[in-house]
Amino acid sequence: MAELKNYHTIRYGTAEGELQFGHITQDNVLSAVMLRNGGSLKHYITLDATGEKHRKHGTICRSPGSFQVRAGDNVDEDHPGVYIEAVSGDLVLRAPSGRVRIEGVNIDLVASGADGQNGVVNINSNEKVIIKSQTIDVSSKVSTKIFSEKTVETIGRGILNMYGGLVDVADGATSVKGSKGGSLNEEQQKA
């Protein structure tokens, strides 16, 4: 009983490609439907019927060449031309040997978490993050920090305005001797 079997497998095919219904894969999963290229070892689409949660009733599209979707010629503005939704679970986009490119008239990146741990946009880079635009607004509800271990440079080639209800500036020297007034920045420098 352990090894899945199906005595009603159907195949249509030629040397170039085939369509199978109900075959058992080499990793012992029942594939309800499989469409594959006879000229390639890894070119297929399968609709699986058994296996792990993601695999059972899941779809795998595998191709050594690119996987392309072009759609939406007739779609109205503001309607999705291509819609991909992970009903539960994560949406993972990987390009371990290439770029991830996102292009649009506008790009919305929205993280909406229900609690204090979620709703985070994480941008990690091991070389450089470049943001260029005609105007850049960085706005936060509570606090904004710009931090570098080495150097922070703020340059306004025309004008540099720095405003604050109360302004507090401290340098490294205050970490030992301290200033007259004392401030949060100064305390941070001493830390």
Binding site: A2, A15, Q26, D27, R36, L41, E52, R55, V176, Q189
Partner: protein, 792 residues
């Protein structure tokens, strides 16, 4: 003709209905009848569509000299009613190839010039089908021409097989006189194409599709300060890929899946790709260390700022800026050399590592960081001298900074952010897993040890710093407690991930290689039923398809505390092909590196040669460690120049040879009587399984109250189902548990009315004492479980 003229009515069926059987002629005689590619108008199509030349038995001879293929009649094709005839764009194409045996009738009765093909008599896997077109006809030959590429879905992965030659014809040899010796070699007897293209034979494309490697998914650096798991996974992946390529020289089943002419070039490509991936991850670590170093230096230097008057501070600022630049420059150069370094590591790993355990990645990281530490210290010593000269009293501060840098890795011990993904490894087939985070304390310890070995003079970081990271990683592969050699393939292990720690158990494997259950040896602590996942991991990748889920419950530990642990598993799919006991093969990384009949040679420097199947010449040198299959003995022969030889190598255990020599890898006799391995004394124990619970995967519909649960085989077990008003299964109670399940039972409900209920058994275990085992009636109820806990 007079008779025909008198009585022939020229209506199909009214002049008699004449059947025929024939063979479709080679396609060179009919393919021009079709266009072959879309054309502008029908004037570009030479023929009339779906027509084939057919050599008809009893009407045409098998001898092509008497009737050439080009002179055979054209046969039309009759389609089934489901195919359509072209009207309203309804049509199907015929799927007829050369060599096919077809049958039909003559539309023109006894004139026999207008054959119609009604059907095809398909091949079967035992039919002797020649690869090439035979000189004589009416012999099965391949539908592929010499120009064609055989479909990857029809390439068999195993050589050999039986064929049934054509018999029953006129001669004693079973062939007609015309066929004689002109029938060619049957192709499917030895290798290549599965002649039916059915799904019954394992094919290359299907096997490749089932061999997808897991890939690491990147996480934010707060979740993964040292990407040890990612590096380990990439090492594993490249090692397995290289091993497959190397073994394909000796094994047909691998060669058919790797149609590569220049294997070394392909291996180099794999190494290049892997070194890039590993270097990317190492760069994350380097940038983190850079951050720590700059932070430490700037914090230390802040203590000097107050010593200078404000008018002197611009000079100080320049000095601090220079130091920061120097550090940044050093790391830039270190990172610049990473790619080359990782290439060196991967090349070494490919020869030395069969099982890329976590410690391999840790050792590599430790070795690399060890060198960084000493180099960073040296650079800082030089760089901080400018501060010392500017601020006279600063020497002690400089010493403090340099001293602190030795703790460069301690910052990596920070706790991970609470909201990190539980899954950071993905396989499109088998799904998610959690990569190891690595033992940071262990890495720190290793890096400090390695650092001692890197006490070399550092060139000025501002000057050419090529070779800053020169490191052959030879030490990284030779660390006590880090086993990188091949593992003995045995039963799979259960992995629990997502939350909690320390749950371990021995999987129980049935007679058909399926997972029946688990014997938990430790429930572990801290498991969350919503965030705990389980996988069956086969170290050698022999078994496939098992799906298990953990059962997380509270239990009272030995100290009387309530803990949440994995107390059992559900077997969702039992899978197949898992080993219940070691079979002599070896491997790791979920790949079988050496088969039981392979001979293995390990070089004195730790490099492994590709395992050789029986019948290959193996040349050995002094110090080589040779392992040949158990039960075999070889004596080495002298190599060229009559050197060495004459050493006896007894199979089963590694033997270190002292003289050069060569031998032919022996073929073991697996029919000999072998001992019960492993015996109870070396790690196995018996269990008896009973049916303890039945899960409902699908309630089904329309069952009635008298419907019965069927258990196959039942081994004395019985169960009763309850249904709701709509006939859905709402519960199944095990009324008799049975005893002695050795295979996964099939459960269903026998019903005149119901549909689609899916039930799944849960087998529980009783350990059996040795006394009970002596009873013959108990023996066939016993499943032996290998105690794997702590062995892998």
């Amino acid at each position: 003709m007079i008779e025909q003229g008198l009585f022939k009515r020229y209506f199909v069926g009214r002049d008699g209905f004449i059947w025929w059987i024939g063979q479709v002629a080679p396609e060179s005689s009919w393919k021009d009848n079709k266009a072959g590619a879309p054309v502008g108008t029908n004037s570009d199509i030479k023929g009339f569509g779906e027509r084939y030349r057919v050599r008809i038995m009893g009407y045409h001879t098998a001898n092509i000299d008497e009737i050439p293929d080009g002179e055979l009649p054209w046969a039309y094709v009759m389609y089934p009613v489901t195919a359509g005839g072209g009207g309203r764009s309804g049509s199907q194409s015929a799927n007829i190839s050369q060599g096919d045996f077809v049958f039909g009738f003559f539309m023109d009765g006894e004139d026999c010039q207008m054959p119609v093909i009604m059907g095809i008599l398909g091949n079967n896997e035992y039919a002797a089908v020649s690869k090439n077109i035979t000189k004589a006809r009416f012999v099965p030959f391949s539908g592929y021409t010499e120009n064609d590429n055989v479909s990857t879905t029809a390439l068999k992965t195993e050589q050999g097989g039986q064929v049934v030659e054509q018999t029953g014809a006129q001669t004693t040899e079973g062939k007609t006189e015309a066929q004689g010796d002109n029938t060619g070699e049957s192709n499917n007897k030895t290798v290549i194409e599965a002649v039916t293209a059915s799904t019954a034979i394992k094919d290359a494309a299907s096997e490749v599709a089932a061999e997808e490697q897991s890939q690491p998914i990147a996480e934010p650096e707060d979740c993964e300060p040292i990407p040890t798991g990612r590096i380990q996974k990439q090492i594993q992946n490249v090692i397995v890929e290289i091993q497959k390529l190397q073994k394909s020289q000796y094994k047909y089943s691998l060669a058919v899946k790797n149609n590569i002419g220049d294997i070394q070039e392909e291996i180099n490509n794999k190494i290049e790709k892997a070194q890039k991936f590993i270097a990317e991850n190492m760069k994350w670590i380097f940038t983190q260390i850079e951050k720590f170093v700059i932070n430490t230096v700037n914090k230390g230097m802040k203590k000097t700022y107050f010593l200078l008057f404000p008018n002197e501070r611009p000079q100080l600022k320049v000095a601090v800026d220079t130091i920061n630049d120097l550090i940044a420059c050093l790391f830039r150069k270190l990172i610049g050399g990473l790619l080359q370094q990782m290439g060196s590591f991967v090349k070494n790993a490919a020869k030395k590592v069969i099982n890329a355990a976590e410690c391999v990645a840790e050792n590599m990281i430790g070795a690399t960081l060890g060198k960084i530490i000493s180099q960073v210290q040296n650079t800082l010593n030089q760089a901080l001298s400018s501060i010392t000269s500017l601020v006279g009293q600063a020497q002690s501060i400089v010493n403090d900074i340099v001293g602190t840098i030795t703790d460069v890795l301690s910052f990596l011990s920070c706790e991970e952010e609470p909201k990190c993904s539980e899954v950071n490894e993905w396989n499109i087939l088998s799904g998610g897993n959690k990569l190891s985070k690595g033992d940071i304390e262990s890495i720190i310890g290793k890096s400090k040890n390695f650092a001692k070995g890197f006490e070399t003079a550092l060139e000025n970081a501002q000057g050419g710093a090529e070779g800053l990271l020169d490191n052959d990683f030879s030490d990284a592969f030779n660390v006590d407690g880090c086993s990188i050699g091949p593992l003995l393939c045995g039963p799979p292990i259960a992995e629990f991930f997502g939350s909690g720690t320390d749950a371990v158990g021995n999987l129980i494997i049935g007679t058909a290689g399926e997972v029946l259950g688990i014997d938990m040896k430790s429930f572990g602590i801290g498991y969350d039923s919503e965030k705990t996942f389980a996988k069956v991991k086969d170290q050698c990748g022999k078994g496939k398809g098992a799906v298990i889920r953990p059962i997380v419950e509270d239990y009272t530990d030995d100290d009387g505390n309530i803990q949440s642990g994995v107390v059992d598993i559900e077997v969702v799919y039992p899978g197949t092909g898992y080993l219940s006991a070691p079979d002599g093969s070896k491997g790791g990384n979920e790949y079988t590196w050496a088969d039981p009949d392979d001979s293995i040679v390990k070089k004195p420097n730790g490099d492994y040669d590709v395992p050789k199947p029986p019948g290959n010449i193996i040349v050995v040198g002094p110090g080589d460690e040779v392992t040949i299959p158990p039960g075999t003995i070889v004596v080495t022969e002298p190599i060229e120049g009559d050197q060495g030889g004459g050493e006896e190598i007894i199979g089963g255990n590694p033997v270190t040879v002292e003289r050069p020599g060569k031998f032919t890898s022996p073929l073991p006799d697996f029919n000999r009587v072998s001992g019960d391995y492993p015996s109870e004394s070396n790690g196995s124990y018996p269990v008896i399984l009973y049916l303890c619970e039945i899960f409902i995967d699908n309630t089904g519909i329309n069952y009635s109250f008298e419907d019965k649960v069927v258990i196959e085989p039942d081994i004395g077990a019985k169960a009763e189902a309850k249904f709701d008003q709509q006939g859905r299964v709402i519960s199944v109670k095990v009324t008799e548990q049975g005893e002695g399940f050795t295979e996964y039972p099939r459960l269903y409900i026998r019903s005149e009315t119901g549909y689609n209920a899916q039930l799944r058994p849960k087998l529980c275990i009783d350990r059996v004492g040795s006394d009970e085992l002596k009873q013959p009636t108990s023996q066939d109820k016993v499943v032996r479980v290998i105690d794997c806990v702590g062995k892998f």
